[in-house]
């Protein structure tokens, strides 16, 4: 299986704080990876660098053949539009755009908009009857489903989900996880940050971080999980 993400010796320094300290791992195409660890362990920083939202201080982060560290501002913008689909804990929908328009916004920045395709994406996440609703008129779970539809609309190489169920009640969290499972079954590569061990076990692999370092990788893809502690 092709490697879609290759991280080598990745470091990120914020002043005196070292958020990532020599992180290395690889991700195969179609894999579902769960990053786990305590707050401040560097999970979100790692996701941000892989998504082109932040730049590393040192090391390599190659996503689909592109070294993110070498991209300039314009290159990162293009990279995000073409290769990444984001799902955030806080949903991050544009408040004055409807559910449909929020999905179309991603299309607009990627290339051209296709309202029909955006509608189908929302129907797929069960929001066919909420197309014209503003985010303020949607529940948390519905907003996160809009975010999932938006993340998938441009067929990204990588779906990055930062605590996608962190702000949801149990029922809505289950809905979102079901969606992620479906995406995984369809062959999408998903990198997900989570605090929830149960959700973490749904992934193919779980990468544990602490103090900016990889402290363990658990492989759940085979029957009978194997844990490789470092």
């Amino acid at each position: 299986m092709a490697t879609v993400v290759q991280v080598e010796g990745l470091r990120k320094q914020y002043g005196n704080v070292c958020a990532l300290d020599g992180v290395s791992f690889g991700v195969h195409e179609g894999e579902w990876i769960a990053f786990m660890g305590p707050s401040g362990s560097g999970k979100t920083t790692l996701i941000n660098i892989l998504g082109g939202l932040d730049t590393p201080t040192a090391g390599q982060a190659i996503v689909d053949g592109t070294d993110v560290a070498r991209l300039d501002e314009a290159g990162l913008t293009r990279f995000r539009a073409e290769k990444i689909g984001f799902v955030f804990q806080q949903f991050h929908l544009v408040p004055y755009l409807t559910a449909l328009e929020n999905v179309m916004l991603a299309q607009y920045f990627h290339s051209t908009t296709d309202e029909n395709e955006a509608r189908l994406a929302l129907e797929r996440v069960g929001l066919g009857d909420r197309l014209k609703h503003l985010p303020s008129r949607l529940s948390g779970g519905e907003q996160q489903r809009v975010a999932v539809a938006r993340a998938l609309i441009n067929h990204p190489k990588l779906v990055l989900a930062d605590e996608p169920t962190g702000n949801l009640d149990e029922a809505n969290a289950e809905t979102v996880i079901r969606l992620l499972r479906e995406l995984h079954e369809e062959g999408h590569t998903i990198l997900m940050v989570t605090h929830d061990p149960e959700i973490g076990q749904l992934a193919d692999r779980r990468i544990d971080l602490a103090h900016g370092r990889v402290v363990g990788i658990s492989d759940y893809s085979a029957k009978g999980a194997v844990r490789f502690d470092r």
């Binding site: 979100t44 941000n48 998504g51 939202l53 932040d54 501002e73 314009a74 913008t77 293009r78 995000r80 539009a81 073409e82 990444i84 984001f86 955030f88 806080q90 991050h92 929908l93 544009v94 408040p95 004055y96 755009l97 409807t98 328009e101 179309m104 916004l105 991603a106 299309q107 607009y108 920045f109 990627h110 908009t113 938006r150």
Partner: protein
């Protein structure tokens, strides 16, 4: 999608944007009113100045014309001299010659023109200045004259005259009175058609048709000067003077400078005042937009961070926000311009007692100015270009 997003942005922030819009509409209204007035005020002022009387005179070459036409060329003959000095009057002009040359020049700006012959005649035992002219042109040359009685409608009428209110008082004359004027043994019997109240030197004169004054003075075919009322701006007057000077090289053609210069000076001052006010209003409007946009830029940081995270380039994202401000400026410009035109019409009626014409060129001008002002006031939005999505998502 661009316009869809733009519409939703305008709708979503309508409360805050309303403040900037009100500022833009107010600014556009005052600016368009001032510009409309400024563009139209030249002709309105000129109309006002034309009511002050003639503004161009044609006189013999060596006559030093004063500021008042009436004080210029009183023929150097008077009743007391007792001599016909027609032949000795080099400061008079040949009527036929002047009028022939004047007739060869076609000038649309000339509102009225009339020859004048001033003599000092005797009425009863009083000396009085007599002006022989074309009485049918009198009202056009001096629109401010107020008349009791009747005008002398024809320049051929040799039996009626107009008398200034001062003369009428002194000689106890009223419309219908008989008047006997004598000059060097010649006598003219006239009936007063009307009494003129001009509020100046004209009140002390008697006005009759030119042939009567010529016969009375024995200066047949001679005139002292020609007065013209020229319409248009001070530049128009100067142009007419130059044209006439070319056409009548034997005579002195000059503008009555006090009127022309007062007009030019007043216009220049009004223009400076209006320009200063327009500039001040533009700056104030920009500051108001600036304050609104600064607050809006802070509100929009998260949206911009998200748009960038989704792959929106700086130019595309900031372009959206600038377009929003530009649309705001255009709306403010259009609405304000309509209000401004109404305001200028109202001001025109108040100030000039006449309707100010709508100058359509102020619409693109005001709308353009408002878009520029709105964009200048949107300077804080530039900081949105520096927004880092990761920083925004960290809640910093």
């Amino acid at each position: 999608m661009f316009w869809r997003i733009l519409f939703q942005m305008l709708r979503g922030s309508r409360g805050r944007l309303a403040v900037a819009l009100v500022a833009l509409i107010s600014g556009a209204a005052v600016i368009s009113a001032l510009i409309n007035l400024d563009l139209d005020i030249g002709s309105k002022l000129t109309e006002e100045f034309r009511t002050l009387g003639a503004n161009v005179v044609i006189a013999p070459r060596d006559v030093q014309a004063g500021s008042q036409p009436n004080s210029q060329v009183t023929a150097k003959v008077d009743a007391s001299s007792g001599a016909d000095r027609n032949a000795e009057a080099p400061l008079l002009m040949n009527e036929a010659d002047v009028l022939k040359q004047l007739g060869s020049v076609q000038l649309r700006e000339v509102v009225a023109a009339a020859p004048y012959l001033y003599i000092v005649s005797r009425a009863e035992k009083t000396q009085v200045v007599v002006a022989g002219t074309w009485l049918d042109q009198a009202l056009k040359l001096d629109p401010t004259w107020k008349l009791t009685g009747n005008w002398v409608a024809s320049r051929e009428d040799q039996t009626h005259c107009l008398v200034g209110s001062g003369v009428a008082r002194q000689l106890h004359l009223a419309p219908g009175s008989s008047l006997e004027l004598s000059y060097s043994g010649r006598v003219a019997q006239l009936r007063v058609a009307g009494v003129v109240n001009a509020g100046g030197a004209d009140d002390n004169q008697i006005f009759m048709n030119l042939p009567v004054a010529q016969q009375l003075s024995g200066l047949s075919g001679r005139i002292g000067l020609v007065q013209l009322s020229v319409g248009g701006t001070a530049q128009n007057v100067t142009g007419v003077v130059a044209t006439l000077a070319n056409a009548l090289p034997d005579y002195e053609v000059r503008a009555i400078r006090q009127v022309t210069e007062a007009e030019g000076s007043l216009l220049a001052r009004l223009r400076l005042l209006m320009f200063s006010m327009v500039l001040l209003i533009l700056v104030l409007t920009a500051l108001c937009v600036l304050a609104t946009m600064a607050a809006l830029a802070i509100e929009r940081r998260e949206d911009v961070g998200l748009m960038k995270a989704l792959g929106g380039s700086i130019s595309r994202v900031v372009g959206l926000f600038l377009a929003e401000v530009g649309v705001l400026g255009a709306i403010g410009g259009v609405v304000g311009c309509v209000a401004g035109v109404a305001l200028s019409i109202w001001m025109g009626q108040r100030v000039f007692a006449t309707a100010i014409s709508v100058r359509w060129e102020i619409f693109p001008l005001t709308i353009g100015l408002m878009i520029i002002v709105a964009l200048a006031g949107a300077a804080p939005l530039r900081m949105l270009g520096k927004v880092k999505p990761a920083v925004i998502f960290r809640g910093e």
